[in-house]
Amino acid sequence: MPATKYKFNPDSLSFDKIRLGIKTLLLRLFAYFIGSLIFALIYWIIFASFFDSPKEKALKREVEQMTIQYDLIHREMSNVETVLEDLQKTDDNLYRTIFDAEPIPSTLREGGIGGVNRYEALEGYNNSNLVIETANRLDKIRKKVYIQSKSFDDLIKLAVHKEEMLKSIPSIIPISNKDLTRTASGYGWRIHPYYRISKFHYGMDFTAPLGTDVYATGNGTIVEVLASQRGLGKHVIIDHGFGYKSIYAHLNNFNVRVGQKVQRGDIIGFVGSTGMSVANHLHYEIKLNGVNVDPVNYYFEDLNSAEYERIVEIAAKTGQSLD
């Protein structure tokens, strides 16, 4: 037990016992607490300015690494952008060289199918979603309307032979063309590869490597399998009935015989460059009652509205045909 402490009182000239009241004690405790806080703060400031906590160290390292890598990626990205610009120019030049046409605009190229916001103009209104959805639906309907807008005769025929007719009318793309990059030249006035003048191109050209499968676009009977060296080269003609015939030209080889019945999607031959053709491609024609029609109107079976719009756009380009 510590010895009792006294204090000299100069007024009474006596030694008084030092007594600590509860108030003084509390005050002192509080002072200690504040003091400790201040000290803690001072320590902390000193410590923090010299050392980092492990957590801080990890974070610092993280930020450093992230910054370094970001700068690297950023620098590389600007390099890549230059390279990409170059590549796009090359691409455009190649397109000009090979197809003799202005390249497909980059919005089409970058956007891809469905990528471009085709309804951007409609955004920003209160009922945007509704409007867009409606416009979207309208687009789809527009395509479907095609079948319905056919002539009355067709409708009557359709009523009678509906199922058979729907299976027979050529209505798919004759080669696998899901990415829609194969379309080289559409129906209409196109630059002839040798004459270098505008000639009417009665079909649609699809670029494809030698030996690519060519499909029957509707049910029908093979009426011609001819290896004429002239014009169409090795070609197949299918009679679909209902006045429709489809022609597949410049084939490398056949997969059908005359008189054979084929179903939509059957492989009838393989892509080549026979006859008047400057490159491997498929020349595809549709004839309705002996008159050529634009095949682009006949792909309603396997394309969605965006793809359909895109193929129409590509096919409309006035480039060079390949035959």
Binding site: A3, T4, K5, Y6, K7, F8, P10, F15, I18, G35, S36, F39, Y43, A48, D52, S53, K55, L59, E62, V63, Q65, M66, Q69, Y70, H74, E76, M77, V80, V83, L84, L87, T90, D91, L94, T97, I98, F99, R109, G112, G115, D179, T181, P193, Y194, Y195, I197, K199, T207, A208, P209, Q229, R230, G231, V271, M276, V278, A279, N280, H281, L322
Partner: protein
């Protein structure tokens, strides 16, 4: 000062003695006090850090979040680049290469120098390692794709020029305006109009009046020009390269000399009836690697004379530009 002095009652001699701490003890006191304050400070620090995190930490975390945002932003650019590269690749593989009869670049080559687990080992062990590696590998993928694409386009470009050249050299048009009737065709002739014997007709006759312009059907060089004793009379032979030669016979006049380079659509001669000929006509024949080909397979027959003239004029203006 007197007031603050503390005294202790010494029981042995009942005297009040001033409490004097030796400096050693004083020092010890201060040390103890200091140690105590350290302990208390640590306790405070631990509690605060655990509950709130230090301001510095907060700042750093904020910075990490900022970086993440930056990454997201650049990620969008990366994705755009990837999309561009993919579309470039599509037009390469699906548009150009099929036309030029080239095989597409094999997947293994496209992915060359890519992959490998240890590539990004220096990026492991961070809080956001996954993020860093994802972005790093994406930019690497883009870089390698771009490199491959560049190489690929280079070969395609070379091939396309080659292809264009070959197309220019191909005898792809009719040597005279096709308004004229096609005469005797490529066939086994039972009676030769002059000789009267049976003989192969190796070419295509065009029934054109005396003095009709005859044009080169493709780019090439004249390897023969002059009178041919074999029956073609005044005759021109053009070598188009790629194993193709064209012969223009029975001319009345020759406008080119041996060794001269000609372009498609160049006026090379005037038709006539020289040599073994029963009347004015142009004899046109095509040889491919030494064997005779039917010329009608080499040109479109449905070009009107107006279109033909347009074409010749276009070729002429193009020649002048060169």
């Amino acid at each position: 000062m007197l007031r603050n002095r503390k005294y202790v009652l010494d029981l042995s001699d009942l005297q009040y003695k001033q409490v004097r701490l030796p400096w050693k003890k004083k020092f010890l006191h201060i040390l103890l006090w200091f140690a105590g304050s350290l302990v208390v400070a640590t306790v405070y620090g631990t509690i605060i850090e655990n509950m709130f995190g230090s301001p510095k930490e907060k700042l750093l975390s904020q910075q990490v979040e900022n970086m993440k945002l930056q990454y997201t932003l650049i990620g969008r650019e990366l994705d755009n680049s990837l999309a561009t590269l993919k579309s470039l690749r599509l037009s390469d593989d699906k548009r150009y290469r099929p036309v030029l009869d080239m095989d597409s670049v094999p997947e293994s080559f496209r992915k060359a120098g890519f992959g490998g687990i240890d590539r990004y080992s220096d990026l492991t062990g961070y809080l956001n390692s996954d993020l860093l590696i994802a972005y790093k590998s994406k930019i690497d993928e883009i870089k390698s794709m771009a490199t491959v694409q560049k190489e690929s386009f280079k070969t395609v470009a070379e091939k396309s020029l080659e292809w264009k050249k070959e197309m220019d050299h191909f005898p792809g048009i009719s040597p005279v305006s096709v308004k004229f009737r096609l005469g005797d065709t490529f066939r086994w002739r039972t009676i030769h109009p002059v000789l009267g014997t049976s003989r192969m007709h190796n070419g295509q006759d065009f029934e054109v009046p005396y003095g009709t312009d005859v044009y080169a059907t493709g780019d090439g060089s004249v390897i023969e020009s002059g009178y041919n004793s074999g029956g073609f009379g005044n005759c021109i032979v053009i070598d188009h390269g790629y194993g193709l030669q064209t012969v223009y016979g029975h001319l009345s006049d020759i406008k080119v000399v041996k060794g001269q380079n000609v372009k498609r659509g160049d006026l090379i001669g005037i038709s006539g009836s020289s040599g073994l000929s029963s009347g004015p006509h142009l004899h046109y024949q095509i040889e491919q690697f030494g064997s005779h080909k039917n010329p009608v397979n080499f040109f479109n027959n449905d070009v009107s004379s107006q279109e033909y003239n347009e074409m010749i004029q276009a070729f002429a203006s193009k020649s002048q530009q060169r």
